[in-house]
Structure formats: C-alpha cells, structure tokens
C-alpha cells in the first residue's frame, strides 16, 4: 500500500490531503469513491499517475 510504504498513518495522510482519517479509511476500504479533485490530489502527493493509484473494479457503483 502506497501509504504504508511511506510510513504514514491514515491520520498523517488525511492531514496532508486535507481530509479526515475516516475519509482515508473509507477510500482505502472501497466504501467511498473520492471526487476527481481529491483523486488528483492523492496522485500528486504520491507523485504517480491517477491510473496508477486507482483502478476500476468494474462495478457501476
């Protein structure tokens, strides 16, 4: 996991992204799909392309 590779807790990542720890947890567990703005922010933070961070699981939800 990208976050763990950097030794960041969910709180640390949330703080860097400007979202709560709950939001980070919901994104990681697939309970929440981030907005496009947040997805780009996450990709920029990890210095990766957006498609390298997120993949489509094929569901419409």
């Amino acid at each position: 996991m990208l976050r763990a590779e950097r030794g960041w807790s969910q709180l640390e990542l949330g703080g860097r992204l400007g979202v709560s720890r709950q939001a980070v947890n919901a994104i990681e567990t697939g309970k929440h799909d981030p907005s496009l703005t947040l997805a780009f922010r996450i990709a920029r933070l990890f210095k990766l392309g957006i498609e390298e961070v997120f993949d489509d699981d094929g569901s419409d939800d």
């Binding site: 763990a4 950097r6 030794g7 400007g18 979202v19 709950q22 567990t29």
Partner: protein, 140 residues
C-alpha cells in the same frame, strides 16, 4: 519485506489536529447557539403577542445571519466524505419531516391524534438527522 516505521507526528498529523480543533470550535459555537435558542423556546412563552415586536425582528435577523454563517463555516471545515454524509442525513431528515408531518396531519384529521405540533416535529426530525449522521460516520 522492509517495514517503514509509522510517522507519529508528521506535518499531516499536525494539520489534521489543527483541522479538528477548528471544527471543534465551530461545533461548540453552533451548539451554544442552538442551546440558547432551545432555552429561550422552552422557557419563554410561545404564541402570538408573547414577544416584543422589535425583539422578534432582531431575533429573526440574527438567526438569518448566524445560521447560514454557521452552516457555511461548518461545511468549509468538513471534507468531502463528511459533506456527503451530511447531505445524506439531511435528506433522510427532510423525508422524515415530510412523511411524519403529513401522516400526523392526516391522522389528526381523522380524529385519531391531536393536531400536529411543529416544534415537536422539528426537534424529532433534527434528532433523527443527527442520529443518521452519527450512524453514517460510525459505519465509515
């Protein structure tokens, strides 16, 4: 596999703590405002003519300024998940208010229950909305 020690107090954690403190301040101020209004409504007499006209106008203006500002700053301090959860909870509360109010009115027209009490409906649906928001937050 190489393990990286977790950063306990990085810039992200400090930023998160600052955000939490900001949200707490807004929440406390909002709660104090709501408490003051509730106390006035519970202790004060209600009904036409029980309030000085000037005081009533001032109270409405204050409410019309304070409430949107509190909602605005609260929304600014929330992240997108919290905003989405608030939207879901508010929708739930609105449906509960419309359905509850309508059912109560129809039942009272049928002589089965007393006339609807708007204050009770507002308080009950507010509690339902808060409960729904708490449930969404706990579920993650």
């Amino acid at each position: 596999m190489m393990t990286v020690p977790m950063i306990e107090d990085g810039e992200g954690v400090r930023a998160a703590r600052a955000r939490t403190q900001r949200r707490c301040r807004i929440a406390v101020l909002s709660l104090l405002g709501a408490l003051a209004v509730s106390v006035v409504m519970i202790l004060g007499k209600t009904g036409p003519g029980h309030l000085q006209p000037g005081y009533a106008v001032a109270a409405v203006i204050a409410m019309a300024v304070v409430l949107p500002l509190a909602i605005y700053f609260n929304n600014q301090a929330k992240d997108e998940l919290a905003r989405l959860n608030a939207l879901r909870a508010n929708s739930f509360g609105l449906y509960a208010f419309l359905l509850g109010g309508w059912s109560w009115l129809v039942l009272s027209n049928g002589g089965l229950v007393p006339q609807p009490n708007v204050l009770f409906l507002i308080l009950a649906t507010s509690m339902l909305t808060l409960g729904r928001y708490a449930m969404l937050r706990i579920r993650g």
